[in-house]
C-alpha cells in the first residue's frame, strides 16, 4: 500500500512540475499590453524586435518602457551570444514568448490527473493490484 502511495506521490510531483511549466507567445499591440503581461526580473523570454532581431534573455530589470536583461544560450537563428547585456524598448517588441512556472496551473493540472487516475483505479479495481510495500 505504501508502494502505491509512493507511486501516486511521484506522479503528482511529476505532473505538478511538468504541468506548471507553460510557454506562451504574445504579439503585444502596445506598451500597455506588454506591461499587462507582468514580466518580472528572473523571467526568461524570447523576443523578436521590429528591427528583426531574435533574442533570448533573462530579464534583470523591468522599467516602465523597456526590459533590460542578459542574453541566454541562443536558439536557432539568434545572433547574440550568451552573456551580453541587452535593452529592449517596449515599442520595439513585436513578438514575445515567455516560459514560466505557474503554481495555479500546476495545481489544477495535478488535481485533474490525480482525479482521472483515481477514477480509473476505482473503476478497474487497480488499487489492490499494486504490490504491497515491505
Amino acid at each position: 500500500m505504501q508502494h502505491g502511495q509512493g507511486i501516486r506521490c511521484l506522479l503528482a510531483i511529476t505532473v505538478w512540475l511538468v504541468g506548471g511549466c507553460t510557454t506562451q507567445t504574445y504579439a503585444p499591440a502596445s506598451d500597455a499590453v506588454t506591461r499587462e503581461l507582468k514580466i518580472k526580473a528572473g523571467d526568461e523570454i524570447r523576443v523578436i524586435t521590429t528591427r528583426r532581431e531574435r533574442l533570448s534573455f533573462k530579464v534583470s530589470e523591468v522599467h516602465g518602457d523597456r526590459f533590460i536583461g542578459v542574453t541566454a544560450k541562443p536558439h536557432p537563428k539568434e545572433l547574440h551570444p550568451a552573456g551580453e547585456t541587452v535593452e529592449v524598448p517596449f515599442d520595439e517588441l513585436a513578438v514575445l514568448e515567455v516560459t514560466r512556472f505557474e503554481t495555479k496551473g500546476a495545481t489544477l493540472a495535478t488535481a485533474a490527473v490525480l482525479v482521472t487516475v483515481s477514477a480509473f483505479a476505482v473503476v478497474l479495481g487497480a488499487v489492490p493490484v499494486l504490490p504491497p510495500g515491505p
Binding site: T25, S30, T50, R51, R54, P76, V86
Partner: protein, 183 residues
Amino acid sequence: MGNHRALKCIATLATVLWVSACTYQQTLRHPKLPPLVPIDRTMDCRQIDLAIDRADTVRWLIRDDGGNLETSGHKAARYAGNAVLIPISLISYFPTYIPDGGHTVLNAADERIRELLQLKRDRSCATRATTVPGKDDMALLAELESVQAQLDAGRGKEGVLFVQRTQLLDGLRVVPPRTSNSP
C-alpha cells in the same frame, strides 16, 4: 482498380505536401494577428506606423521560418491527404498530419497590414519608403488592393496573385539598421 489508383494518387500528393510543409518550421510559436477592432481606429499616425512595424515583423518571422500562402487547390489536396493520413497515422501509433505551411497566420498578418495601411491612408499620414523601387507604402497599398480585389473576385490565377501579394508585402518596410549596444 480506379479506387486503388485514386488512393495511390492521394498518397503521393500527401507525401509531396507533407515534405513541402517541412520547409515551414516554427522557431517559436507564430501568433495569429487579429483584424483591426474599433479601438485600433483611434490610433494616430505614429501609432499606426508602429502597429505596421509590429505586424510586419510578425509577418517577417513567419516568412523567415518558411511560411507561405496556400492556394485553394493545395488546401483541398491537403484536406484529402489528411483524410487518409490521419486515420492511418493514428492506427500506427504515430499521429501526424499535413500542416498548412503557415497559411493561416501569414494570411492573418497580411490582412492586418493591409487594414493598417488603409487606416493610414484614411488619416492622410506621411508616406514611408519601401524596398520596392519607386514605390512608397501608399503606392504599394494601391497595388496590393488591386491584387486583393482580383483574389476576392476570383479573377486570375490564385497562385500567381498570392505570389504578387507576398512579393509586395515582403518589400513593405525598410528595416532600420542594427545598433551594436541594443537590439
